[in-house]
């Protein structure tokens, strides 16, 4: 191992440039990986919100998963009542959303969601309350607040929270999901509607809903039920949990592919410079390879030695690039923290992935030069000047 290091430092300038090339690539991979990890967290958090529910939207409203809320078409609350008459439906809750604060970076916007709480709660199946309780039918002037919003507003259960000029009593605070709902506040439908109408004075319809969330009865086939609603209720578009997940996954897959693609191009260049460096090293040390073979080194010993050197370049560059990436992530997260915005997430994959990747990449790049070294004929190699 010590010999590998000493050989690496024989040509300091060249080794430094090679390492620097990979460091840049790994830095990009770490930072972009952190961004992807954060998006992944948000998607998982969102999945917690959509699990076990059917979402019903107006037919021409476009994508169901409206992380930014709004939309130009509305339904009437009577549609929710009509859906409730379909066998297998437990509750159909009309919803209306108003943006409290626009999105910053990759973070979700703060939203006020007015909804009709089911009689016994149960609207947030996979999201637990860290404090307090869910809203119940009949609650007025009460709010359930997402973890990020609660922290930002210093909310306490039983305490007040003012949203768009109206003060609510905090009934419950949700566990952090790392998804967009962390920045949302849920209030009774009528309160939400009033806020919505105040924000959109040109709309006169008084019982509008932007979407309806349908909870099935226990044991009901939720995918089949989504089909029945689609068939029986005119002018709506249903999205089952399976469809919703598919839509979210598609979105994130494309995003991940683009940013990782950029990072991989950077690393490809790094890989080429490892090949170049190792070919140069082998050419310069042909006599040494010949000597080593003369005193008993086998082909595999030489192969291991040169592969080890290439892998070490990758490991070292990977570690430095990853640490630089983490520093950047931490600085950027700290800078946006004041606004409660988290753009990057640090997971074990974000830390280990780039380092392992750089090591494997450099080893692969070093394989051809190492094989060339290992297969040298000792007599020929010893003749080199």
């Amino acid at each position: 191992m010590a010999f590998i290091f000493r050989n690496m430092w024989r040509r300091k300038g060249r080794t430094f440039l090679t390492i620097f090339g990979i460091v840049v690539g790994i830095f990009a991979l770490t930072v972009l990986g952190g961004m992807t990890a954060r998006m992944d967290q948000q998607v998982k958090g969102m999945k917690g919100f959509i699990t076990g529910k059917i979402s019903v939207a107006p037919e021409d409203s476009g994508a169901h998963v409206r992380m930014r809320g709004g939309g130009s078409s509305y339904m009437d609350l009577s549609t929710a009542r009509a859906i409730e008459k379909i066998p297998g439906v437990q509750t159909a809750s009309g919803m209306v959303m108003v943006q409290l604060k626009s999105a910053e970076g990759l973070s979700a916007p703060q939203m006020l969601v007015g909804y009709e709480p089911p009689a016994d709660g149960g609207m947030f199946k996979d999201i637990k309350m860290s404090q307090g309780r869910e809203l119940k039918a009949g609650d007025t002037d009460k709010a359930v607040v997402g973890s990020v919003l609660a922290t930002q507003e210093r909310s306490k259960v039983g305490g007040p929270i003012t949203l768009k000029g109206k003060t609510y009593e905090v009934a419950g605070i949700m566990d952090a999901t790392l998804g967009p709902t962390d920045a949302w506040a849920f209030v009774p439908y009528q309160d939400g509607l009033n806020t919505f109408l105040a924000a959109n004075p040109f709309i006169k319809d008084v019982q509008l809903v932007q979407s309806i969330t349908v909870l099935p009865k226990p044991g009901a086939d939720i995918e089949a039920l989504a089909g029945t609603i689609q068939k029986d209720i005119p002018g709506v578009k249903t999205t089952s949990p399976v469809q919703a997940e598919k839509q979210i996954s598609q979105m994130t897959t494309i995003f991940s592919a683009i940013i990782l693609g950029i990072a991989f191009i950077a690393l490809f260049v790094g890989g080429l410079s490892v090949i170049n460096t190792m070919i140069m090293s082998v050419s310069e040390r042909r006599r040494e390879i010949g000597l080593k073979k003369a005193i008993g080194a086998t082909t595999s010993t030489i192969l291991r030695e040169y592969l080890g050197e290439a892998a070490m370049i990758g490991l070292f560059a990977g570690a430095v690039g990853m640490l630089a990436g983490l520093l950047a992530i931490s600085a950027l997260n700290r800078a946006t923290h004041a606004n409660n915005v988290v753009i990057f997430a640090v997971t074990s994959t974000v830390i280990l992935g780039p380092v392992i990747f750089a090591t494997i990449l450099a080893s692969l790049a070093g394989l051809f030069p190492a094989l060339r070294a290992a297969r040298l004929n000792p007599v020929d190699a010893l003749k080199e000047e």
Binding site: K293, T298, T299, P378
Partner: protein, 228 residues
């Protein structure tokens, strides 16, 4: 007792349409503890013979037997194993690794023999002591004189206690004083430890200090005589 024997040993190189018989049906026997030189003009085949004796190269025809092992049909890995265990090499240009200290250079063959680090260090220091360089153990090759570097190379060749040490023009880079010193050292090592040496040289002064001179011309033995 023979430590090395060859039978009709032949090495033919083909360069385009030209065929060169570098070693041409050579029969040779070297006994344990011998101290001999192989002489001949440039292109006589002496270095090729040395490479064949040391299993660095494989013959076109004929046999080499080293310390009871027939090397003709051995694989590359098996030949490497013979080089590790039975042969020590000394080269004209020392061939020390510049990133290693003197003692680490001497340890190198023991590494390939998978000797444990502490044992490796002990034996390497012992070998350096035999060549009178204990005080330069930590020096890098760039900090050694030519004579010292060659003595480190001799220690490296001896450290595995090989059956045969092959030296290719070991004094070729040295001045007369250092040539005499190195030859005296090698002769003492042969006398004190019964170490077998075969030295390729074109320098009569070197050859005269050995006890047997084999002269080679055109890949064949021209003369083989004991030195009085």
């Amino acid at each position: 007792m023979s430590i090395v024997t060859t039978e009709a040993l032949t090495k033919i190189y083909k360069m385009g349409d030209t065929t060169i018989n570098a070693v041409d049906g050579l029969d040779l026997s070297i006994d344990k503890g011998e101290f001999l030189s192989i002489m001949g003009p440039s292109g006589s085949g002496k270095t090729t013979l040395l490479h064949l004796l040391g299993c660095l190269d494989v013959p076109t025809a004929g046999k080499v037997n080293i310390d009871g092992v027939e090397t003709g049909d051995l694989s590359g890995a098996a030949l490497a194993s013979i080089r590790r265990e039975k042969v020590g090499f000394i080269f004209q240009e020392y061939n020390l690794l510049p990133v290693l200290s003197a003692v680490e250079n001497v340890e190198l063959p023991l590494r390939y023999l998978k000797v444990k680090p502490a044992e490796r260090r002990r034996r390497a220091l012992e070998a350096l002591e035999k060549v009178g360089l204990s005080d330069r153990a930590r020096n890098r090759p760039s900090q050694l004189s030519g004579g010292e570097a060659q003595r480190v190379a001799i220690a490296r060749a001896l450290v595995t206690e090989p059956a045969l040490v092959l030296a290719d023009e070991p004094t070729g880079e040295l001045d007369t004083t250092n040539t005499v010193r190195i030859m005296d050292l090698v002769r003492d090592l042969n006398r004190d430890f019964q170490q077998t040496f075969a030295i390729v040289t074109h320098d009569p002064m070197v050859a005269e200090r050995t006890r047997r001179i084999i002269s080679i011309r055109d890949g064949k033995i021209e003369s083989d005589k004991a030195v009085a």
